[in-house]
């Protein structure tokens, strides 16, 4: 259902959307059932003239069934949800596939900086391409991101990837994504980071291999022209 509102542009976006749908139908069933019974009972047992309430303690086994059986069923649903949620989680956050390339993402008050590999395909080398508030990716490639923050907590959130990860000063967090759809989409900061928190939008540009290579080549020329004094590593 989420893809109705936000494009699914990463390899795992569909998994998260399906997990959402699964939970939606499971809890939706319980919700409709509980509210249905609830309203039915309210109307059925409205006070009537000369009709007293019944005396039911709810402590007999035959009565207790009415809450214990639903409770086992809820538990069964919980098991299904937990198993599916953990599977998705391990795929997205825990088990990192081999990367084709690595990008560095740095949050600061109030901008995002991105370090892309240059022509050599590696970061932390002389031909790195640094950008502000624009991340350039090639569709179909698996990326690792190395996420850090310069000052306070930020959160690297790319809704079309269904990805979110807090950036923490003093730590580098490694994760992955694989864009599967070209286009230009929002990147947001999802963790309160001061007065400019609402004003640090960035964009992710996902393009085919050829335009991406052209962009890399063009940036490398700029880079070479202005490089001489710049230290290689961030």
């Amino acid at each position: 259902m989420i893809e109705h509102y936000v494009v699914a542009a990463s390899s795992y976006a569909r998994d998260i959307d399906s997990l959402f749908d699964l939970i939606f139908w499971l809890v939706g069933f319980w919700f409709v059932l509980a509210e249905g019974v609830f309203f039915y009972l309210i109307f059925r047992f409205r006070a009537k003239k000369d009709v007293k309430g019944e005396y039911i303690t709810g402590e007999k086994k035959s009565e207790m069934r009415w809450i214990s059986w639903p409770h086992y069923l809820v538990l069964a649903c919980d098991v299904v949800i937990v198993v599916m949620a953990v599977r998705v989680w391990m795929n997205v956050k825990q088990d990192l596939p081999e990367a084709d390339a690595t990008v560095r993402v740095i949050g600061q008050q109030w901008a995002w900086s991105f370090v892309h590999p240059g022509a050599d395909g590696k970061i932390d080398t002389a031909d790195d391409i640094e950008t502000v508030d624009e991340l350039r990716l090639e569709v179909g490639k698996t990326y690792h991101y190395r996420l850090s923050a310069r000052d306070v907590l930020h959160s690297f959130s790319v809704p079309v990837f269904r990805l979110k990860q807090d950036a923490i000063p003093g730590r580098e967090i490694v994760g992955w994504f694989k864009p599967i759809k070209t286009g230009t989409y929002d990147i947001q900061c999802a963790e309160m980071c001061g007065i400019g928190h609402g004003l640090m939008p960035a964009r992710v540009v996902i393009e085919e291999a050829a335009p991406h290579a052209a962009w890399v080549a063009e940036q490398s020329q700029h880079q070479v022209a202005s490089l001489s004094a710049k230290p290689a590593a961030e």
Binding site: F45, V74, K93
Partner: protein
């Protein structure tokens, strides 16, 4: 739909209260003249005849019980100051908490009005405030959250109703430690003043979100609110001290000062809930108070507990905060569930379904709530493997909570339901809280939380829990116990207008926010104009819808205040037991005198013996000998 044939039966001045001194055996009293059958049509506003009001000679009888601890000193010629501001009477302290909490709720409501106007109409000059800058926006959302949880939900649900109800329902004359109780309120008042002061200091109020994550909250060069942040943390810490002192009283009084005969299973469920909530609070707040001290040191004397450059760790704060913060949800939830239970049994004329099961679910929820905190931190940089454990515990908590809801729904079966205003609030608590409960599953499941964390989906989810708790629960309690507290009935018609005028806009606020959250709206964003995908007009329309609904909901609160004041001044006299309820607070005059019971009661049975077969009356007070 909201109508009901049931009218408050204030003429039935039952229980042989004529002398107030002896509890007469109600069981044997035949249906006397004034006791109406419920179906009998009674005008809503009878003239204030109520000739059976026995409260008239209450002061005399009261003179004879100066033996109740330290109460004697307060009787007779006490000044306004001693009576209302320096009192150790649990009921006065409850009122102090209630009115302070309501006052703070107005401040919190003003804040939501300002920032929702900014969200719906970015850049407009908000009437009564002016243009909203990003710094002001952050301070408003931060303090709206902090106020509504710490200065409204906590003081009203736990402190006000805990104070009011525990001694009355347990059948004792006051809290075990009345002076500690008074101190508790005074510290709470001080914390409120410190909080309000923090808005007006140089640099403005703290704007680092109510969770106050460092390093933003720890360093003034990042937060740009040097004084505001420190005062804010101090205010929160003082508030915790106040509730620690209150909690000592709640637990001790309920466990040690019950009326003779009141066994564990005879304690009204709301008392149990407040006791368990107090235990949860006391067990979880310690780490956070320690954290608050460290945070103040980081801010003011330059320590580095949360500063990664000096070996500190910002994540440490998150663990301390949420180790408290998640049990805190249940700290405010449980009293509201308890209140709902009391009201539903009275107006369904039904025994609570499976009372022992309710207790087990409360304890299970309480224990589990200590093992779920890291679900707030799935994507915060904790070890990803930890998320798997916390997903299991978090999703498991749905089992006792679902069971609690099943019990309440099952209680309605076979009832004789009267849809009075308090009952409408109680029922709507169940109906609305279910939405909050089921949407929590999406967030407890780590896989979907990656997407939903810090979006409006989270915001809508917890408002579907906190509004039922703090708003619906409070209105349920106020409309139900108003006759006891002030001796007069509230207006039912105005009560129902207020109910529908609150409940419908409430849903119209937060359902659009679920949609916006699913569409990727992040929280605490001053304006969405900078995000092309979120600035679409159809999403902006939803934001406007939420804001307009909020204005309507706020507008209808005027009906409540009008009803409150009008009923206070000229509502029909309530008598002792207008709702024909069983619990002990209904056996004393309304409002109860200082010292509560002329003769301390003896308890013969559980609190929910309604519609017992073979009895004329469909209720059976706890203190009536069988």
């Amino acid at each position: 739909m909201a109508d009901s044939s049931f009218k408050p039966d204030r003429a039935s001045e039952d229980e042989g209260t004529a002398g107030g001194a002896e509890t007469e055996p109600v069981a044997d009293v035949p249906e006397s003249g004034p006791t109406k059958s419920q179906a009998e049509p009674a005008p809503a506003h009878e003239p204030e005849e109520s000739p059976h009001e026995p409260d008239a000679h209450e002061p005399d009888e009261h003179g004879g019980h100066g033996g109740h601890g330290g109460h004697g000193e307060h009787h007779g010629s006490e000044s306004f100051f001693m009576k209302y501001l320096w009192s150790t009477d649990h009921k006065i302290i409850a009122m102090q908490y209630l009115f302070t909490g309501m006052g703070m709720a107005l401040i919190g409501a003003f804040m939501v009005y300002v920032f929702r106007m900014q969200l719906a109409f970015p850049g407009m000059s908000v009437p009564g405030f002016g243009h909203v800058s990003p710094a002001e926006y952050n301070a408003l959302v931060t303090n709206h959250g902090a106020i509504m949880i710490f200065w409204v939900a906590m003081p009203v649900l736990i402190a006000a109703f805990g104070n009011y109800l525990i001694p009355l329902m347990c059948g004792c004359d006051d809290m075990v430690f009345p002076r500690i109780n008074r101190l508790s309120y005074q510290i709470f008042l001080l914390s409120s003043i410190v909080l309000i002061a923090s808005f007006f200091v140089e640099g403005g109020g703290f704007g680092g979100a109510w969770t106050a994550y460092p390093p933003l909250s720890a360093k003034e060069q990042y937060s740009l609110t040097p004084l505001g942040a420190t005062l804010w943390v101090i205010a929160v810490a003082l508030e915790f001290v106040a509730f620690l002192l209150g909690g000592i009283n709640f637990i001790t009084t309920a466990m040690n000062s019950r009326a003779p005969g009141m066994k564990m299973y005879d304690i009204p469920i709301v008392v149990w809930m407040i006791v368990v909530a107090s235990i949860l609070f006391m067990a979880s707040v310690g780490p956070l108070v320690a954290g608050a001290v460290m945070l103040v040191f980081d801010q003011t004397i330059g320590t580095g507990f949360f500063d990664p450059d000096r070996g500190g760790d910002p994540i440490l704060w998150q663990h301390l905060f949420w180790f408290f913060g998640h049990p805190e949800v249940y700290v405010v939830l449980l009293p509201a569930v308890g209140i709902t239970g009391e009201i539903m049994t009275v107006f369904a004329r039904k025994k609570l379904f499976a009372y022992p099961v309710v207790l087990y679910t409360v304890f299970a929820t309480g224990i589990l709530s200590f093992f779920v905190w890291a679900h707030h931190q799935f994507i915060a940089g904790i070890d990803p493997r930890m998320a798997n454990i916390f997903t299991v515990t978090t999703v498991l908590i749905s089992v006792p909570i679902a069971e609690m809801m099943f019990v309440y729904i099952a209680t309605l079966w076979g009832g004789s339901i009267r849809l009075t205003t308090p009952m409408l609030w109680a029922l709507s608590f169940v109906g609305e809280f279910l939405i909050g409960g089921v949407t929590g599953i999406f967030l407890g499941a780590s896989g979907t939380d990656i997407y939903f964390h810090d979006t409006y989906f989270v915001l809508a989810h917890f408002h579907y829990t906190f509004v039922p708790i703090a708003i619906i629960g409070t209105f349920a309690a106020v409309t139900y116990w108003f006759p006891k507290m002030f001796g007069r009935m509230m207006d039912e018609r105005l009560g129902k207008i207020h109910f529908w005028g609150t409940i419908i806009p409430f849903n119209m606020i937060f359902i659009p926010l679920f949609v916006l959250g699913a569409a990727g709206d992040h929280r605490r964003i001053w304006s969405y104009e900078n995000f092309p995908e979120l600035a679409r007009p159809e999403y902006q329309d939803l934001r406007v819808l939420a804001t307009v609904s909020m204005l309507v909901m706020l507008g209808f609160q005027l009906v409540f205040f009008y009803n409150f004041i009008k009923s206070l001044a000229s509502g029909p006299k309530a008598g002792r037991n207008p709702w024909q309820a069983n619990t002990l607070e209904w056996t004393v005059p309304s409002p109860p005198p200082h010292g509560n019971f002329a003769t301390l009661p003896t308890v013969y049975r559980g609190p929910y013996e309604y519609s017992v077969p073979g009895r004329d009356k469909d209720y059976w007070p706890q203190d009536a000998p069988s």
